[in-house]
Amino acid sequence: MKVLEDVGRGTVDVFSYAGGVAELLADAVRFILRLRIRVRETMDQAYLLGVQSWTIVLLTSLFTGMVFSLESAVQAVQYGVGNLVGGAVSFSAARELGPMLSAVVVAGRTGAAIAAELGSMVVTEQIEALQSLGLSPTRMLVVPRLVALVIMLPLLTIFADIVSIVGGMWVANIYAHISTESFITSARSVLPFGDVLKGLVKSLVFGVIIAIIGAYQGLQTRGGAAGVGKATTGAVVTSIILIFIFNFLLSYLLYGNS
């Protein structure tokens, strides 16, 4: 009986969480559609959440692109298909590495920051203070972060795409003596522009996930400093899991037939 009880309670919790997140997202979207966006706050958040993430995105994308090229280029040359390395690296960068890597890295850095900031505001009564002033925490806090991430994550993804391809190209040239021209020609022949755009669609969805999960976890914080820590961890773990799930779903929907 206890197992059944636990399963039942767990199911209720999952649906309650999903309902809460959906409600928060719907509330935020309503404000966005009515153009009730605080521009200055959104720009500040774009800088804090997006621009300040460029270093970490640069490093992770560069080294991942380099590793991918390192492991594929030498073997490709041995099999006489070195001219395909550029295509392989850019194909994987635009479809998977760029959107996924930048989303996971930003979820770790920014999702945690959103949850921690809003969680601290809950425990210090700042959220109640906003409500008591007749202001909506969704409009004041969630919408700027959501809009900022929806704009900045695709930009970071473009940056990650370029950096990983350049890193891969450099390694392919050094270790497998694949010329830059050959690499670029291969990349252009294999990678349609539409795939780059589809990668950006993914990153847009990931941006929504990171912002909303971070905000929801933060706003649900209970119990002081320990609660803030729990909310922060929960935001990162949940965002990353959802990013992987949605990556599969979006890949299926966007690239299912290609």
Binding site: Q126, E128, Q131, S132, L133, G134, L135
Partner: protein, 250 residues
Amino acid sequence: MGVYAHLDDVCVRYGEKIVMQNLTLDIVEGAITCIIGLSGAGKSTILRLLNGLKKPDSGRVIVKDQDITEMRERDLIELRRSIGFAFQFSALFDSLTIGENVALPLREHTKMSDAEIRKLVAATLDSVGLAHVEARYPAELSGGMVKRAGFARAVVTSPQAVLYDEPTTGLDPIITHVLTDTIVNLRERLNGTAVVVSHDLESIYIMADYIAMLFEGAIVAYGTVDEIRRSPNPIVQQFLQGSEVGPIPI
């Protein structure tokens, strides 16, 4: 004087814990009502019920003849604009300066120009004894100054009522006296209603028009300062005297 707000047979629970049970209380319009009681008795919950931040599990909350118990969030936002709330730890926004904190409700709810807002913010800060701190951040001020900045933010829109949650807790006697005077002065300036939750009996005796004592989820005594001080209720007397002996379990 009329009734500003009325809690009618209100029950509130947090999980398994019953905080209020069939609590009924009138808040007199234009007066300062102080709510006293043990820590954790639910005094702050009364303030949250009055501006709709908390909904009762049963019973009704009437504010200015409006039943807010089932009011939609959109309508509650309108109501809250007419009620200032000074939080226990001030709840100023860390990322904003004191001036920006106080100006926030004006920027969001009025069409005042920047110059008008700056002037009103300066005047309001001055009225709580805080001149020339607009550019400073909350972390740069002392506890008493932060409390007063919280008062300024609560009253800058000239609300009909102001709710104060433990305004003098943890402050030295001089600042406590200053804050008590500030509450009285603000009530007179706004010509409105004030509800103060506090443990500080000396301040309460100075500022209160009415005192309500909350014990075990209900109001066990209500009256003017003199009536409460002379109350024959042993619970009230034990609380006022701070005695360990009496019906209140330690």
